[in-house]
Symmetry: C2
Subunit: 197 residues, 2 copies
DNA sequence: GTCTATAGGGTGATAGAC
DNA sequence: GTCTATCACCCTATAGAC
């Protein structure tokens, strides 16, 4: 692996573990083994490196969310996505960045984060629409809202888990969300939709 | 106001705005107007000051959550608590701390955060139990889980709002959670409970 | 592309007079 | 309790040779 890529990966890891403000170029050099000169050759400033690392972290995460788009029963996809094993104590690579003042106040650094969330939101809206169409969810629920709710459960679950230093609250939060979704099945089948789907 | 109290309040504000790691004693002195000597007289280290500020921030927040405990209809209390106006772009004074590596890795600093969340969780569990007893929620829902889910919606809502620099996703997340709760009313009244309650 | 050397400014204190 | 002075170290680069 070349220096450039090594730097980006190392910075990505450190930003996940420690955030942006609290990660120094020095730590990146020490962990990656890349020298001072090389680092500043590839990335004139810490911010440039952070931007590359952030984009990499976002790219890492999006494939997972596209699990929501896959084929198959919508509620089954939702369930699979929510229940996928996650290490809650590590937090979310992307969501974490919103709490770093130096990221949050820098539109350029915040942009990849905003794009990532927007894309995941889109996947959620689609699968929720499908679930409603398939009469697995009441049709008076708003997919846009609900998408935000479910994303929030995930992001907030990390916060609860870290606060308690315990995976439990995260698992509970997701399981509880799933319980609510199951409870929101239409009580009486809708009048008319496509034959099978 | 005496220097000590002024320092604690200023540190509290700065930790809310910028977190712990990224707030320097110097900023605290400049914003508060308290001199170097006074500061280190009252608080030997930055960490001591942070601990006091954290406890103050927690104490600030808990009264709000006790709105859940109040008298009146349980679902109405839940609704009032969820819909209370909040500035989503500022984030949560307490939840924010979980993303600061220097707080998260320091059991002493993390303790007030953990206690605060535990206490809010308790209030949620109680009001949810009451809502189930009052047949406002299905009795197959688990109050412990659901409490974590709803706390997560709140905490995660802040993350979404900051990512998009828009209050909207936060409001959506909460409204969506409320929609789900309303959809989780028992479809047929339970067999037997207290007469009126 | 990578190396070593250097630098101005901030961080988190400590010392000691008043 | 509050003040000013000082300190060792770290942060984020920049310079310039190889």
């Amino acid at each position: 692996m070349d220096s450039r890529q090594l730097l980006v990966e190392t910075m990505g890891e450190l930003m996940w573990e420690r955030g942006y403000a609290d990660t120094s170029p020095r730590e990146v050099r020490q962990r990656s083994g890349v020298g001072q000169g090389s680092m500043y050759h590839h990335f004139p400033t810490k911010r440039d490196l952070a931007l590359a690392a952030l984009e990499r972290n976002v790219a890492d995460l999006l494939p997972g969310a596209s699990e929501l788009d896959g084929p198959g029963d919508p509620m089954a996809r939702i369930e699979a996505y929510l229940m996928r094993p996650r290490d809650a104590l590590k937090g979310c690579k992307v969501g974490r960045m919103t709490q770093d003042p130096q990221v949050r106040e820098d539109p350029v650094l915040l942009a990849p984060v905003a794009r990532a969330f927007a894309q995941v939101h889109l996947s959620w809206v689609n699968v929720l629409r499908e679930a409603i169409a398939a009469r697995e969810l009441r049709d008076d629920l708003d997919p846009e809202r609900l998408a935000h709710t479910l994303m929030a459960v995930l992001q907030g679950g990390y916060v609860l888990a870290i606060a308690q230093q315990d995976q439990g609250p995260f698992d509970d939060a997701l399981a509880g969300a799933l319980d609510l979704l199951r409870a929101a099945k239409p009580s009486v089948p809708n009048h008319k939709t496509n034959r099978s789907n």
